[in-house]
């Protein structure tokens, strides 16, 4: 009950508020641990609220200008020239200058990797409304940073900034009570037009607290777990948002040679190192059934790490739910059940592996169970195994793990498949390393513009001969893309929405300034 108390207090306070332009109340989580400072990572998903970015992505994920009116990349791909609008002001009324942009990028670079600015060299002022961003090497995925790094004021930035942010975004802060709620009001100086809400409150706390707020009518938009999504309270409707928040089976790609990481975690798995096993798993999985089982039908089958995004290549996928083809693949590779125990063997080794899932995650548990059961049909003995994340970190280089990704940024495709990222954090835990795929990924980063990079990203997944996709090396067996469920007030129009990234909740605020009330007061 103690967790509900703050939420109820908020509810009482909201009901007591004087009638007028209706304030908007959201319970979508997303409270940043380190405050609202873009330099330390605030704002990569959803709306940065207080700050604005040079570029932004529209509902189709195409880039459009925000602070920038014009942006060009030099022919060698290492110099961005960005023209800024001249009417942008911070919420304290001071104008936003090129110096602020330069200060933000250089400070973020020096902040020690809290924002991924790999390959970024330095920024400088090159005109009254123009900045130049210099890269050490061509890196097209830096474009995504232009759309996520909020600009901070060079003068007002200091140690206390994260708690009292000043920016050129659509909102300014009224109050932040950590762990309880954040209240913001429109920034009168915002260059983007009027925001139709007098105030917006973000209520933090447990999922249950959010649900209670929705049921009492105190919240207008709440993130809800899929299991409860279908029973919204009166006056609200369920919104299922398509995402690339995906889940798949990550395969260890190298044989077990006794090698270990620096931390002593074993590397390699003799069964999954055989491509035939990985391809057979991809062919056998009935992903529609997994969506029904694990997501209550609220999702779609996944065949790659970025389904439906511009850099996805559907050609790299293999049709699933085909146990016959899977059996043929295994037979051809010499895996057969000679001793009649229901599990195939090859060279005295059983076609058996664990499917590790984080014990606290019901969705991944259901996926592990469903996948294991489907693989039993083709003679692969997969054992679901629930572990804590700490244990998984020590197991993920040698066992199959249910992992998930999904971002509006192709550099993620790079990070989880490039050989250089083998064993770096959660990137590429399977030690996948294919020189051709690496070359495609590097070529994509060197592309002269974002459009031109798409073909190389796609070739990395499948180029007609090889790739990380199921038709090539089958480095993963992707299973499902989640749908994120929300309850939304029937009076609220949230407009057109992007396909959402990994993370349920705050990403829905991406177009918050465009939302509208549709009911008369």
């Amino acid at each position: 009950m103690s967790k509900l108390t703050p939420a109820l207090l908020v509810a009482v306070a909201l009901f007591a508020a004087p009638a007028g332009a209706r304030p908007l109340v959201l319970a979508v989580g997303g409270e940043p641990e380190s405050g609202f400072d873009p330099v330390t990572g605030w704002g990569s998903y959803g709306n940065p609220l207080f700050q604005s970015t040079l570029l932004r992505r529209d509902a189709d994920l195409a880039l459009e200008g925000d602070l920038a009116t014009d942006w060009t990349l030099s022919e060698d791909g290492t110099l961005w020239t960005i023209t800024l609008r001249d009417d942008a002001r911070f919420s304290d009324g001071t104008p936003l200058t090129p110096e602020d942009v330069v200060f933000t990028y250089n400070t973020a670079r020096d902040a020690g990797g809290l924002v991924d600015l790999t390959g970024f060299d330095a920024a400088r002022v090159s005109g009254p409304h123009e900045v130049e961003l210099k890269l050490a090497e061509p890196r097209i995925s830096f474009t995504s940073r232009l759309a996520t790094l909020g600009i901070v004021p060079a003068d007002g930035y200091g140690p206390g900034y994260a708690r009292e942010p000043i920016g050129s975004g659509p909102f300014r802060m009224v109050e932040w009570r950590e762990g309880a709620q954040l209240v913001v009001e429109p920034n009168p100086y915002w260059h983007g037009g009027d925001v139709p809400f007098e105030r917006v409150s973000f209520v933090f706390g447990s999922e249950q607290a959010g649900l209670s707020l929705a049921r009492t009518g105190a919240a207008d938009l709440v993130a809800v777990p899929a299991s409860q999504a279908d029973t919204p309270p009166d006056g609200m409707e369920t919104l299922h948002v398509e995402t690339v928040d995906n889940r798949g089976l990550m395969f260890p790609m190298v044989p077990d040679t006794g090698a270990t990481t620096e931390g002593g975690a074993p590397i390699g798995n003799d069964v999954t190192a055989d491509r035939a096993i990985r391809v057979a798993v991809n062919r056998a999985l009935d992903r529609e059934a997994l969506v029904t089982l694990a997501l209550n039908g609220h999702g779609r089958p996944a065949t790659g790490p970025a389904d439906g995004l511009p850099w996805d290549n559907p050609e790299g996928a293999l049709p699933g739910n085909d146990p016959e083809a899977a059996r043929e693949t295994l037979d051809a590779a010499g895996w057969s059940d000679t001793n009649g125990d229901g599990t195939r063997e090859k060279d005295g080794r059983d076609a058996a592996f664990a499917i590790v899932y984080p014990a606290g995650d019901g969705t991944r548990q259901a996926l592990a169970l469903g996948a294991a059961q489907q693989l039993r049909e083709i003679g692969i003995a997969a054992t679901p195994t629930g572990r804590s994340w700490d244990e998984i970190r020590a197991m993920m280089h040698s066992e199959v793990v249910v992992l998930g990704w999904g971002a509006h940024d192709p550099s993620e495709v790079y990070n989880i498949h490039h050989g250089d990222y083998a064993g770096i954090g959660y990137f590429n835990p399977g030690f996948y390393d294919n020189p051709t795929v690496n070359a495609h990924l590097e070529a994509a980063e060197r592309a002269p513009d974002f459009e031109a990079s798409l073909a190389e990203w796609q070739a990395a997944e499948w180029d007609g001969e090889t790739g990380f996709g199921a038709r090539g090396d089958a480095a993963w067996a992707w299973m499902v893309n989640l749908e994120h469920a929300y309850w939304v007030s029937e009076c609220l129009d949230t407009g057109a929405r992007q396909i959402h990234p990994h993370g349920h909740g705050f990403p829905i605020t991406h177009d918050l300034p465009d939302w509208r009330w549709t009911c008369a007061e």
Partner: protein, 283 residues
Amino acid sequence: MTALEILSRGPGGTRGGRHPLWRGAGAAGLVLLILAAAALMPEPWLDVNAQAVGRAPGPAHALGTDSLGRDVAARTLAALAMSVKIGLLAATASTAIALILGLAAALGRVADHVVGVLTELVLGLPHFVLLIMVAFATGAGATGVIFAVALTHWPRLARVLRHEAQTVAASDYVATSRALGRSRPWIARHHLAPHLLPQVVAGFVLIFPHAILHEAGLSFIGLGIEPHLPSIGVMLSDSLREIVAGHWWVAAAPGAGLVIVALSFERFGEVLRAATAPPEGTP
């Protein structure tokens, strides 16, 4: 346990006339039945089934299905077997440790001191924190749970046994026996054992449901029985979510199963205690 005791005694506070042996046989029979049925059950009965999610009890599934379409009846049976095994193992180990330490304390002043300090030390730590530490140190999963519950439930019983052993050892009739030339083993068998045995039995019975509960707690935080395997604790914690959606049967079967097994154990313990209590007064 108070509620269980009241339940098992009935409203009158006194026990009805059936022979103690019957109750013991009943409890043991129930446990054997659970273990045998779970062992003989075909494995596919525990499979997930996307086509039968959240079914209410009916002809196809007598006790309904859970959120992954698993048959609740089959899962409850397998879970009870798992819980009974872990409970028995942990209770036996804890009781043995407590008995050894309790008797050791009666050997001399130094041994008594060591046992006392050890007991207080373990009791001083929050029990669940200790469970987590032991489970983590011995490797999570079923092994970790067994070690954790076996190695942390002995202190209360050890303290009781130590006290009991000291009281008996300091009593007049033990002094008299010794003066009459009775040997230490004779005193241990004829004076110590009759007083300790009821405490041991009571301790065993008390530890059993605790062991099951703590197994559930460890499983809940991901250190115990893996959440996809059938165990009463896992099923009950899963059912919290399902009850909100109106699926009462997901909690009903494992809950009722746990109560029945715990209750029969309690009765079994009562019977044993009655049968082994030292005669009171002069014959």
